[in-house]
Symmetry: C2
């Protein structure tokens, strides 16, 4: 994992990037507020993508700092998507504080998100790589941005769909989550000077890891412990989210438990406590919890296998990140 | 101006770009709906920026089509900003039809806008220019995107500001409007193979033109004829927008008319008919209408002077676009 000193150096790099925004516009203050730069005690994001990118760069024999410009770009783009997602999902809280739109209204928050997107790409375009590599890196991150929108668009569509196939669910998380992890790994390698084919292998590894990450997230959204996740029990089920366990169970053979889930998911609005509990129990009986655990493990194994096949993980930092994600409870 | 055949060729190019979006995601259908590609009788945008870019490319001795990839990028980015602006301003109608968020809800429209942004840059990154030029063009458009956000953020801030200086107003329209016109002209030249310094001169010309365009827009928002603009009389004043005439008048010496405007602008919500009419009459008496006309003419003259100084406008197409904008009533 990114050692504390390197992590703090990355945080400074990120803050300096944000400080390039024009202070005469209120947008800068909003972006700073989103990152809570002025509150040292505030809960921050885990910076998981930058950590992975640094590990990739180091595996390629480069110094941690080599990955910082690209990692800043990825972290800014990830946070752009969080700011827009919070508007779309009408989420009030993130990292224990009011979300940007909740604090400053939708117009200002939406625009601050757009500015973060612009800043993200500027980090790459003004980065140290030569023109050829800069085009490859910028194109890689723009493809990820589009995949992210495609996945997010599909997820929004699910909310009003009578049913979602397991294949549609997988395509959605590939876009919404795995694409940016894939791009992170590819960019970490490109920043370190890896050849395009080798960087693409890192990308495939990152994609598998991203799927594992999302399936674990889905497991926690159904079976996570509120004290650990900071979210209500069964949050995804209450909101009738088409997460892994639901999409998997609905793809299975007809049964009374499957009908129970289908009925709840064809209703409108949030599920009440009793219905959510009944759905979660039905999913457990259908084997969806075990299937999700197995899928998460399988994706982690796939990422690890890619790393071994192409000798991507010099000192085992990546394997450590992968397995800690597979076990995470928060 | 862009001849009809070339304009239709550009429209096809734009539609083919949108059709690169993944059809399995609902986002593609939304972007197509925004452009009304499936309704030949629908009112379309004027494609003013692509028209200017083609004129610039032709002035540089290149064929109209040379500008199409970059013009597609600019038109997509312009429309991304319209989709997000419509959400922020809660505008219900554009080009005589319901706006995207009004038809499909904020979450889906916001995401479709983000996808348009990603697609815009992909057009440049996969365009025909070499790596060096591609980086320059992509960086140019990303700077414009950031300026656009900066201007939009400032404009949103004005809504809750007790007062706005004329300088703040000018900085806002430089970001919100002039930056993308500047980038359009610079990109048209870069696409045609112009040297960076010459492309930058086109950019300065485009910036002046963009300011003229916005001041004219502001004049129409106060004194335009509803039958021509398609908007209610005095639309900007009703909504207490800090447009040119208001920012200019409030920057002048104290007077009863200035107090009248200040009082109306320090109220909350939309102005009623009588108050809006009184504000418009006060602005007229203060000379704000004439000042705005003069400023628009001065910016057009500045753009024309830049074109003459650097011999940017081979066959006079740009001068024609500039002067038609200065006179436009819709």
């Amino acid at each position: 994992m990114l050692a504390t000193a390197a992590f703090e150096a990355f945080e400074s790099h990120l803050e300096r990037a944000v400080d390039q925004l024009d202070g005469a516009s209120p947008t800068k203050a909003l972006v700073r507020a989103h990152f809570a730069f002025d509150d040292p005690s505030a809960k921050r994001g885990k910076r998981l993508r930058p950590r992975i990118m640094v590990a990739v760069a180091q595996a390629e024999g480069a110094a941690a700092e080599t990955a910082f410009p690209a990692a800043t770009a990825v972290e800014l783009l990830h946070n752009f998507s969080l700011v827009h997602d919070d508007i779309e999902d009408r989420d009030d809280m993130r990292h224990g504080r009011a979300t940007l739109w909740k604090q400053h209204g939708i117009p200002a928050a939406l625009t601050a998100g757009d500015a973060m997107c612009a800043l993200a790409f500027t980090m790459l375009l003004e980065g140290p790589a030569d023109a050829e590599r800069t085009v490859a890196m910028t194109a890689c991150l723009h493809r990820a941005l589009y995949d992210l929108c495609r996945g997010q668009g599909a997820d929004i569509g699910f909310e009003t769909s009578p049913s979602v196939t397991f294949g549609e669910y997988l395509a959605m998380i590939e876009g919404k989550t795995a694409a940016l992890f894939a791009a992170s790994c590819e960019l970490g390698a490109l920043a370190a000077g890896a050849a395009p084919a080798r960087a693409a292998a890192y990308g495939r590894m990152g994609r598998a890891y991203g799927l594992a990450f999302q399936v674990r997230d889905d497991i926690l959204g159904t079976w996570g412990t509120p004290a650990e996740t900071g979210k209500p029990a069964g949050a995804d089920i209450r909101r009738r989210k088409w997460s892994f366990p639901v999409a998997w169970a609905m793809d299975g053979p007809p049964s009374r438990d499957r009908d129970r889930v289908a009925r709840a998911y064809s209703s409108i609005g949030e599920l009440d406590d009793a219905t959510a509990d009944a759905v979660i129990a039905a999913l457990e009986r259908l084997g969806a919890h075990q299937a999700a655990d197995d899928a998460c493990d399988a994706y982690v194994a796939q990422a690890a296998a890619a790393a071994i096949e192409h000798e991507l993980d010099g000192d085992g930092q990546l394997a450590e990140i992968f397995s800690s994600t597979a076990r995470r409870t928060a």
